[in-house]
Symmetry: C2
Subunit: 149 residues, 2 copies
């Protein structure tokens, strides 16, 4: 793997999270996993990326416990990749990427895929940061307390 600065030991949870999943292909693989993609060949077809890059990203996601390898559901020799609970907990992150993209990266009339809840068929509500009572807060109303402060 290429050498890069890591933030594995950072005491900032954002830095550690970015270290693990702050990569274009990694995020798109996780998106596809939520969409039900399970096999190497399906990822490759859907994402159109080189086999060696896909292998490396799947290996990292498995090493980090975000994906796990399961035997093929149909009893075939091909194994499958499935989100672990740690991986499924990235759902909110994927929703936040989607909602920011919808709001800021599409023209008004431009069509885009929509995430709906299956019961009502309606799009999810916009995510909002809230304080411990549920009141909506903006970034200006928050502060990061560093370790030791």
């Amino acid at each position: 793997m290429p050498q890069r600065v890591t933030h594995e030991d950072a005491d900032c949870p954002v830095a550690r999270a970015v270290d693990v999943i702050g990569d274009r292909w990694t995020l798109l693989i996780v998106r596809d996993a939520f969409d039900g993609i399970r096999r190497f060949s399906e990822y490759q077809r859907n994402l159109g990326l080189a086999k060696n890059i896909l292998s490396s990203r799947l290996r990292e996601l498995t090493a980090h416990g975000i994906l796990e390898i399961l035997p093929g559901a149909d009893g075939s020799a091909y194994h499958e990749y499935a989100l672990t609970p740690k991986g499924r907990d990235l759902f909110v992150l994927l929703v936040s990427l989607r909602q920011w993209g919808e709001t800021h990266l599409f023209d008004t009339a431009e069509p885009h895929s929509v995430l709906r809840d299956t019961k009502s068929g309606k799009p999810l509500r916009k995510l909002q940061a809230t304080d411990h009572t549920g009141r909506v807060v903006t970034s200006a109303e928050t502060v990061v307390h560093k370790v030791g402060e």
Copy 2:
């Protein structure tokens, strides 16, 4: 800039968002911007990354309208970078990265920085995906409708 596959024209908002901000340094620069970092030299000191990479990431963030360049607040010759409304709208994404990192990338006793709301001094509530009525939904209760479906 290095050649890479882009998803600028994708009809998936996740893909377009990932195309713009799915990069380790970009996400850490946005994090620092929320923490009040404004100047090139401050980013460099805080992130410890090479000048040319920092320049390139700041240029991209400015080109995408996530950061804007402002004259130095103290009247000095050094300009500053500030989050635009589009940039500030990434707050929920940063909170989701932070909360996933807190939950999954730290041991129980391991210290980490904490994002608190300034009024109560307490950590923010955990983000949750909800349907249009506010009911919490899991990924299994949602489906992506592609364009044309």
